[in-house]
């Protein structure tokens, strides 16, 4: 991770956060569970859903126990953070770019109905077919119908956060359709019956020997076998993946992608990637289905000049990612001749309805906020119970899902409000402000419902603590609780957090704020 051409972390389609904060269940586990009800077409992932992730400590214990792995992850996070800072500082007008990025997405969001209709009209005029999906089930139903209409039982896909959000792969699997991941790390994870361990480097929990074993054991079950004399050289392992996937790319009739940007005034979709698997999926198959959140639009082609500077520099710390593809509906004689776009709401209109929270929809999924976050660095992606982890996940997931369950009520409290995320965010999302706003909304709702505020807050604290022992340092949470209730407690946490307080005292409002501690230690 030392030079400028490293594999992007997640900057893939819809970038970054690509791999999502997978559940801890599969972490480092060799073989997953096998579904018993029907013959699976793809390797089975570990059982359970992301939101029901097992408690963080179980997964973290494994990670913490593995010094090399922890060192690797720290190294990766710090390298990417430094690279981002360096390439951002390279541009004298970086701050103006961020301002423009924020304003472009605000114009889009404040007139979303107008731009959606414009996009649809242009897509249709250019030979694409447009579908609207209010939620994940609708989107999956539409996609399954489109795939089945081609009379095929497999698709190739580009890593995409939105397809993770709607849990598309498993929906396709249940419909008898195999969805093949084509990003190298995702392939290692998929063939390893695994979930991503980390967003930055989703397969970092696998060393080269394990990757070799997985390739030798699994590739032959699903397509072109790995060469029998395969050794553990990363270049040879990558070459095996190239050959295995090349067969799938050439055979595939249908590809599924997300989109980093959809240009309303031309009907152009944009994919930003680094390995070239995106170009393969966008070019070789006959049919292309792109699923995109309704917030992924930009008004004009010219707006891309801002976004295509902000995204790669913020995401992988590169001046530019290796490959960016743009397509405008169907290009006669070139690439897929049947092009579909599925526009997904799935809670986005709900986010839009809160004028103080809607800035979260500006997000271009670069993952810079995660890489800059001291809490995320310590607790990892799993603690957030969502495909959108880290600071953006803490403000986006509860708003998307509607702040109903315990996880979503707790997420806005999973932060120290240190502000590092807002400083790096390329579209200037005021993440700490939105966190405070959401905390307020949650507390108001609890009050309105006459629930015990004290009990609720302790529950929230307990949940957060249970998922990150290191939260002990982040005493701010206690401060928040105290300010909200005007009382001092939290000396003993109830319920599941009991074990946590048994082990140590929770310091009540710290003498030194976390932020100053952080600055002193790292600044």
């Amino acid at each position: 991770m030392s030079d400028n051409r490293d594999k992007e972390q997640g900057l893939g389609n819809e970038s970054s956060a690509g791999a999502g904060g997978g559940a801890g269940a599969g972490l480092g586990v060799g073989t997953g569970t096998v579904a018993s009800t029907h013959q699976r077409r793809t390797p089975a992932p570990p059982a359970g859903r992301l939101i029901d992730s097992p408690p963080f400590p179980a997964a973290a214990a494994r990670l913490i126990g593995n010094q090399t792995l922890r060192a690797n992850m720290r190294h990766a996070t710090h390298t990417i953070r430094a690279k981002r800072a360096k390439v951002a500082a390279e541009l004298p007008n970086w701050e103006q770019l961020r301002q423009a990025g924020a304003q472009i997405k605000d114009r889009l969001g404040r007139h979303l109905d107008y731009y959606l209709e414009q996009l649809e009209a242009n897509l249709i005029a250019n030979g694409a077919q447009v579908h609207w999906a209010a939620d994940a089930d609708e989107a999956n139903r539409i996609i399954i119908e489109l795939v089945k209409a081609q009379d095929v039982d497999e698709v190739v896909k580009i890593k995409s956060m939105v397809t993770q959000e709607i849990e598309m792969n498993e929906a396709l699997e249940a419909a008898g359709i195999a969805a093949w991941e084509t990003d190298l790390a995702e392939l290692i994870v998929q063939l390893g019956h695994d979930r991503p361990s980390n967003i930055l480097v989703p397969a970092i929990h696998r060393n080269r020997d394990e990757v070799r074993e997985i390739f030798l054991r699994e590739m032959k079950l699903y397509g072109k076998p790995a060469p029998e004399d395969l050794d553990n050289e990363p270049a040879h392992l990558a070459a095996a993946a190239r050959a295995h996937l090349r067969e799938k790319f050439l055979r595939a009739k249908v590809a599924i992608s997300g989109a980093n940007f959809c240009v309303a005034d031309t009907g152009t979709l944009v994919i930003v990637e680094s390995e070239g698997n995106g170009r393969m999926c966008l070019t070789l198959p006959d049919v292309l289905i792109s699923v995109t959140g309704i917030e992924k639009l930009v008004p004009t082609v010219e707006d891309l000049e801002v976004m295509l500077q902000l995204l790669p520099r913020s995401s992988t710390g590169e001046r530019m990612n290796p490959y960016t593809s743009m397509w405008t509906g169907v290009t006669p004689g070139d690439g897929p001749q049947e092009v579909h776009v599925v526009l997904l709401d799935n809670g986005r209109s709900r986010v839009l309805a809160d004028p103080e929270g809607r800035a979260a929809l500006r997000c271009i999924r670069c993952a810079a906020c995660m890489h800059s976050c001291p809490v995320y660095e310590r607790v990892g992606g799993h603690a957030y119970g969502s495909v959108y982890p880290g600071p953006i996940g803490a403000i986006l997931s509860p708003q998307l899902r509607g702040i109903n369950d315990a996880v979503d009520k707790s997420l806005p409290f999973a932060s120290t409000l240190c502000g590092a995320c807002a400083e790096v965010c390329p579209v200037k999302i005021p993440i700490p402000d939105i966190l405070v706003h959401l905390r307020h909304r949650i507390v108001e709702e609890v009050k309105r419902k006459h629930l015990g505020l004290e009990r609720f807050l302790m529950g929230v604290a307990g949940w957060a603590m249970a998922r990150g022992r290191r939260f002990g340092r982040l005493g701010k949470l206690a401060g928040v609780a105290r300010r909200l209730t005007g009382r001092e407690y939290l000396r003993r946490l109830p319920g599941p957090a009991h074990n946590w307080t048994r082990a140590r005292d929770l310091r009540m409002p710290p003498k030194q704020s976390f932020r100053s501690w952080w600055k002193k230690e790292h600044g």
Binding site: V201, N277, M326, T331
Partner: protein, 220 residues
């Protein structure tokens, strides 16, 4: 008509969510403080372009005169150990004359070659649309001298010829130059070096799926 219903439902939800927005014109309502399409302050555009493309471990060559191009192309092909070469229908025919004399098989993508056939081709030669110095990026707009997207994707070696006047400062100027092609519905591909991954033990590997060798030839 489930889809129509879906559209109406979503648009209705969006409109309801935006009841606080009272100015209908997006431009009046939400200003954007940005001057589009500006050149940036790059002094030596060509030198910076070369430096940045080389940064990506691509090979950069410069032709002093147009007459040198065929030989330089033949040299690249030899270095890449290419045996078969695909070229787009609109590529300057003179460019491949030396390679032909060297005994290489030149396939013109007209009529379009089958994808399995292309998979067995070792190299591709294309022109380019725009170069960006600051980021070391080449953009193809896939017009006749660059050809279909697939031909510059499957072969393992890509030789890309770009004219000096096509190289501009940075992304904004390049986007302005490409806007017409996008509005003409041309697909666009931006290439910044060969692909790379660090997915296995953070160890860097060049070239996963796209061409693993990229040669950039700067023409007068």
């Amino acid at each position: 008509m489930a889809e129509t219903t879906g559209k109406e439902r979503i648009l209705a939800a969006v409109r309801a969510a935006l009841s606080d927005v009272t100015v209908d014109d997006p431009v009046l309502d939400s200003p954007i403080d940005w001057q589009y399409g500006q050149a940036t302050a790059v002094e030596q555009v060509l030198a910076l372009f070369i430096e940045r493309v080389e940064d990506y471990k691509a090979v950069v060559l410069s032709a002093a005169t147009a007459a040198e191009i065929p030989q330089l192309i033949a040299d690249c092909l030899q270095q890449a150990q290419a045996t078969t070469v695909v070229v787009p229908p609109g590529l300057e025919p003179a460019w491949t004359t030396t390679a032909e004399l060297d005994g290489l098989r030149i396939l013109r993508d007209d009529p379009p070659l089958d994808k399995l056939e292309l998979d067995g081709v070792s190299a591709v030669i294309t022109a380019a649309a725009v170069g960006m110095a600051e980021t070391g990026t080449i953009a193809l707009d896939h017009r006749a001298d660059q050809g279909r997207r697939i031909i510059s994707l499957l072969p393992d070696t890509h030789i890309c010829i770009i004219r000096r006047d096509q190289i501009c400062t940075d992304v904004p100027q390049a986007t302005a130059r490409l806007a017409a092609a996008i509005r003409d519905k041309q697909p666009i591909t931006w290439i910044s070096g060969p692909s790379a991954t660090s997915d296995i033990e953070l160890s860097r590997v060049e070239g996963v799926h796209g061409p693993r060798n990229l040669y950039v030839l700067i023409a007068p």
